[in-house]
Symmetry: none
Subunit: 202 residues, 4 copies
Amino acid sequence: MSSAPRTARGRATRDRILDSALKVFGEVGYHDASIVRITEGAGVAMGTFYLYFEGKLQVFNELVEDLNRRMRHRMTQAIAAAPNRLEAERAGFRAFFAFTTEVPQLYRIIRQAEFVSPEAMHLHYGRIVDGYRKALAAASDAGEIAPVDPEVTAWALMGIGEIIGMRWILWQEGSDGAPPIPDDVFEHTLDFITRALRPDKE
Amino acid sequence: MSSAPRTARGRATRDRILDSALKVFGEVGYHDASIVRITEGAGVAMGTFYLYFEGKLQVFNELVEDLNRRMRHRMTQAIAAAPNRLEAERAGFRAFFAFTTEVPQLYRIIRQAEFVSPEAMHLHYGRIVDGYRKALAAASDAGEIAPVDPEVTAWALMGIGEIIGMRWILWQEGSDGAPPIPDDVFEHTLDFITRALRPDKE
Amino acid sequence: MSSAPRTARGRATRDRILDSALKVFGEVGYHDASIVRITEGAGVAMGTFYLYFEGKLQVFNELVEDLNRRMRHRMTQAIAAAPNRLEAERAGFRAFFAFTTEVPQLYRIIRQAEFVSPEAMHLHYGRIVDGYRKALAAASDAGEIAPVDPEVTAWALMGIGEIIGMRWILWQEGSDGAPPIPDDVFEHTLDFITRALRPDKE
Amino acid sequence: MSSAPRTARGRATRDRILDSALKVFGEVGYHDASIVRITEGAGVAMGTFYLYFEGKLQVFNELVEDLNRRMRHRMTQAIAAAPNRLEAERAGFRAFFAFTTEVPQLYRIIRQAEFVSPEAMHLHYGRIVDGYRKALAAASDAGEIAPVDPEVTAWALMGIGEIIGMRWILWQEGSDGAPPIPDDVFEHTLDFITRALRPDKE
DNA sequence: AATGAATGAGAGTTCATTCAT
DNA sequence: TATGAATGAACTCTCATTCAT
């Protein structure tokens, strides 16, 4: 039976396992990620894994949850000071790409979740869209952006971010980690988004 | 050793296996799809599978290849008569959504390919982008659309199609198949794309 | 998934596994009986086990069922010609001890069932008692034996058979199998039973 | 290394572990009884177990030993005042059933011992039979009972007690413990025994 | 062309036991 | 005296693939 760590040592061990799981899931995928490989990466014995996690699936779900939270946190922080929606988009995408340069596994983990843990996946997208939709609705009402449908637009923007990041961050990943998104790609992406969102000139 | 079917009967068997594989991969995913399940679905014995395919991975690759070809064919056909790029986008997206309503598994199969067969995945996206990029470059040069970066724009559009279709086709899938995309979602999506692409008023 | 054998070869393999399971369960007990050991004893690979059985527990249950059926069959046959209940007891016990000399594992398997598969155990005892009770009730009514309570008496007789057989057959087991029950033990046992059952002299 | 408790506190801890072990072994059986579960039941940490016991097997043996001693003590006490063997049987069975109503686990523990610790099991049955045999031999010589074979008779009586108690005490066990044996079952059982033992009328 | 019995490496998971604290 | 984190051997079970028929 897994249980929460009761000591500082236990907490550290648990974190090392979670870190290792992120790397292994990101590298070889859920199915080819074996518990041994995860624990070896964490420098502990196999049984130790089960002191802290109920099983392979639970650690995966926890990872998705964790990444989602951290990602949204980073984006929220980045957006805070933006004077309007278009600036907010720029800051938000900047933050998103920066985050996934640090944790390129995010793309892979989410896409895997389709079969591994659909609930986790729906939660992930759902949480992002929820916030996005409200912000877009407000901006649309305020005339900061064109009168778009907030729901569809939120999904479209999310789809753009995902595929661009996948193409220019994840797929460029080398042994020394993922590169930042090229400046021109970022600008072209924002051009696209800006055109799609900016209010029509009267 | 697998080999090409020499008789009509053989061809039919092979097709039934491929059909079954599409269903099973789409339903439970590559890893949980067992050869027995695929062959049972095709109404043949397990050994028969290996008469026509070299293994599980090969059948997956063939499936991706096949879906990609059929999808592009449908889109090309649909676009043929379009008078300009914006109309072509409308027709192309219409065709794409129609195709994936028939074969919603496409979304799942492609997203799985990330780990199952990265080459197949890159080929899939690559082929689509290649055509897209050229068309966008031409349209951009011709002033039919705004002066966008063809590569980034192609990816962005693909990302939109994928996520919108996933959300409103795949995820709405019931026991009687996937529904067509709702009209308003389709229109909102095309509003978004149109705004992003239409040339600036001078 | 396990399934019934479809060919003669399959049937033979299944039987060999069942035989081996009986030996191994009887020798080291359910928990220390590993599937590998069972399959090695049957001369097949581990995976073969799962072609014919759903798991370790299922094979155990099947074994209990099988032993119970065979045992009751042997006893029923032996009793058939008995002129009265006391003779039937003699013939029945004779047959029971003969059977368990051939299959001394019976004692061990049943006693294990307490934890391994209580349902199987209840079924085992239940089936025996059912028949016994009816026979005793009839004999009691007919005045062939004393006016005993059939239920309690059935259990008592069963308890006697089990413990005497365990003591003088199972525990005497050597490498060359279990010995028959010593004649005097058998006679003493039947003396005891006879006294307990015979009608009071008027 | 385990060692005898040196303080009153240690003694109490040890007893709590033993109590918990009895419950757990009785409930889920030796193999499914985990040390954690036993220690949790005793309200101590896992490591504490090994301060007082050498291992799982040792605690099991100690339990068998303990139960055997307590059971025989209760029966000896109960029999002490009996005027003859038949009365002694009545008192002894009464005490046995009373004891196992308090500790129904006894049945389960003994039957498990077959594989867990054959020595413990033989010792258990051996000790009971030893006393029984002598008493029966004496009673037989004295003409208090029929001229039975003491050894076989001792085992037969033990077998009766075990199976009747199992059927009407252990198997009736509810969440609030085991019920006493029903009066009529007790009387029928003693009828059976009495008939089997009473001296022939001359 | 088709079958399905057989294989065995490899997976996730459990748990008695040790030992540093 | 007591703790609980850590270990790793051993377990049951799965399934892609082979091959005799």
